[in-house]
Amino acid sequence: MGRSLQIDSQGRLVHLLTTEGLPAEMIRHILDTASQFVSVNEREVKKVPLLRGKSIFNVFFENSTRTRTTFEIAAKRLSADVINLNIGASSTAKGETLLDTVWNLQAMDADMFVVRHAEAGAPHLIARHVKPGVHVVNAGDGRHAHPTQGLLDMYTIRHYKQDFTRLVVAIVGDVLHSRVARSEIHALKALGVPELRVIGPKTLLPTDIERLGVRVFHDLAEGLRDCDVVITLRLQNERMSGPLLPSAGEFHKAYGLTPERLARAKPDAIVMHPGPLNRGVEIDSGVADGSHSVIMPQVTFGIAVRMAVMAILAGNA
């Protein structure tokens, strides 16, 4: 899925739409490239001229400050010109179609679009309609995919655990609405993780998720046993009550990650979270700020991974 659209006949990455179908070598190439940029980011002058003269448009049809900012920083450190557009509040409100918006921006000689959209598949649609040589990066589409987040999580896991082929990884919480979880699952499978678990109530796990190669647990304590990596997902405010869950409190009681529960995992387990955190809902402060947490390094690595993706797409890495 997505393979033909994002990888050309020579095996080059031309868009990054999903981690599904990305070969392990491609993922490793992205992570290796990112590790070079990590050192750039530690320098006094955090800038390389790889994308000088290139125009990167951050086109966000759904509001996001955090993700947009990380893409903006990544592009600027590659010396690209960055233009931020929050379309959520402008064009579509005027009735302009998604493709009209993109074609207009393309006419301004965009080299790359970083797209976030509330509808699954919107970046695919754009990728099918841009000129050759223009690249699309999916920065999150509906519940479908958030591949740069998935890749930065792979970077983080590799940084702390090196070998994917011996790991037990658990993803906890609202998998149903999570594009991050889907992107992680495909990447972890590609990298050879032998035991991948999802943990949550039946209302928050999508139907047939086990067909993606994961084991399903409804009991948190059982699912955390012997885990090397625990990924907690954000529970969106609007999911905390309504037909899927009775309350945030009850969710925390059954699925909140507390220090006591984390003790079920391996002693050197790492805890990850894509942010922003709901402290006291999906994760306790004792865990989020504790010795197992690698949540802040995730953010730091995120810049390098996004730099790597943009540089590779532009053919400069």
């Binding site: 899925m1 649609l125 309609h129 999508p206 047939d208």
Partner: protein, 424 residues
């Protein structure tokens, strides 16, 4: 006008006739199969060597987009598409804008359609006023204006008391009630079959129970009221099993399936191909296979094109925002032939599913080549292969899941009321 058709393989699904026999038409009627009536002198003779002659197809659902959606398609374009597809009778659903809920609209549509002198158009009246699901429409007035049944189309009908009363009222006068079984709460916001594909693509799902829960309610109400109920567009294996069980216990329900659902499944959505966004959603391969078998064994009474022309602008958007539906009139015959061929059915049985069987559901003429009946027929070349492309379609809707693919079977001539209305 007297026409004789020679050398065609003549198939009448009602009698089971399947042989190369001459066919004679006079004064709009079929006068004889086999030997010419005494003194028959044709005004026109058609040599149909290599062609199949069969009753014109009867389509239980073709959206003509009038009134209200003329930018999508016009009566002229879609009536042309019908005859180009060998369709000589069609039922049009009431989900126009405004909906077909008052006699004036129905009369206007019928008059407009009749003036084109092409396919016979049988409007389906709105079951409820404005299709809003609250008040029952004036069924008597609408029937008088020409409606052959009453349909809620894809609009929700959440208040089961309204449905109960609508069925009782319809049963009083013997009107047929058509319903597409889908619980609107269970389907709420969904755009794809709930399963592995919707999970992978992150598309909001429509579970199987959205169909089966609605079916249970409809079948229970049909049994209680004695209303003549037709179930439109089944999509699930469990739904087919429920209908089979209802029929086995003697309930007089009928049902249909859309022709695309005989060939496609959720996996075909691929990289979010919006042309695969259909109503009901394309489901699991097992569901598709159950629909194929159900139509072959008679559990499902008929197949329809479910023709829904949608303009490019409404499809060139993300999958979930796309207007659902596919153009179908001109793909109807090839896709029915493909199903029948793959199921190794005799050609007469294959064609029955799209002619005599739907005609029986509508209770209208057509679907047979019996002597004395209206001369509505089509001649097609079963071996002619063609590529589905916008330029190959007369319909204004070019939204097809089969774009770029090759299909077999092309209509050569369509005759309605003994008049040649299409030559391809």
């Amino acid at each position: 006008m007297r026409i004789d058709i020679r050398n065609a393989r003549v198939i009448d699904p009602v009698s089971g006739h399947d042989a190369t026999t001459p066919l004679f038409i006079a004064d709009g009627r079929i006068v004889a199969l086999g030997s010419a009536p005494d003194g028959f002198r044709p005004d026109r003779s058609i040599d149909a060597k290599g062609l199949v002659a069969c009753p014109g197809l009867v389509d239980l659902s073709a959206r003509l987009r009038e009134p209200g959606n003329e930018y999508r398609a016009t009566l002229e374009s879609e009536m042309q598409a019908a005859v180009a597809g060998g369709v000589t009778s069609l039922a049009c659903p009431p989900d126009t804008d405004p909906p077909l809920d008052e006699p004036g609209l129905v009369e206007m549509l019928k008059r407009r359609a009749e003036s084109l002198r092409q396919a016979r158009v049988y409007p389906l009246g709105a079951l409820t006023l404005g299709l809003a699901g609250q008040k029952i429409a004036e069924m008597g007035e609408l029937a008088e204006a020409g409606c052959v049944a009453f349909f809620q189309a894809d609009a929700p009908l959440t208040d089961l008391n309204v449905l109960l009363q609508a069925m009782r009222y319809a049963a009083t006068f013997g009107y047929a009630v058509w319903l597409r079984p889908q619980d609107s709460h269970l389907a709420h916001g969904g755009v794809a079959h709930e399963g592995e594909v919707s999970t992978r693509l992150g598309l909001p799902p429509i579970p199987v129970v959205a169909e089966t829960v609605a079916l249970h309610a409809i079948l229970e109400l049909a049994e209680a009221t004695g209303a003549r109920v037709h179930l439109a567009r089944l999509s699930t294996a469990r739904g087919v099993a429920l209908v089979a069980a209802a029929k086995a216990r003697g309930l007089a329900v009928t049902c249909d399936v859309g022709v695309h659902h005989l060939h496609l499944c959720d996996r075909d959505a691929g990289d979010f191909n919006a042309n695969m966004n259909l109503v009901p959603p394309l489901r699991d391969p097992r569901d598709r296979d159950a629909l194929r078998r159900g139509l072959a064994d008679g559990t499902i009474d008929a197949v329809c094109s479910d023709h829904t022309p949608v303009d490019d602008d409404a499809k060139q958007v993300p999958f979930g925002e796309a207007e659902p539906g596919a153009t179908g009139l001109e793909l109807f015959l090839p896709l029915v032939l493909k199903w029948g061929g793959e199921m190794t059915l005799p050609l007469a049985a294959t064609l029955a599913a799209a002619s005599s069987r739907p005609a029986a559901i509508l209770g209208v003429e057509g679907g047979t080549l019996a002597g004395g009946r209206a001369a509505d027929l089509c001649l097609f070349d079963p071996e002619r292969h063609w590529i589905v492309s916008p330029s190959a379609l007369a319909s204004q809707g070019r939204n097809s899941p089969f774009l770029g693919l090759e299909v077999a079977g092309r209509v050569v001539t369509t005759i309605i009321d003994g008049r040649v209305v299409y030559t391809g």
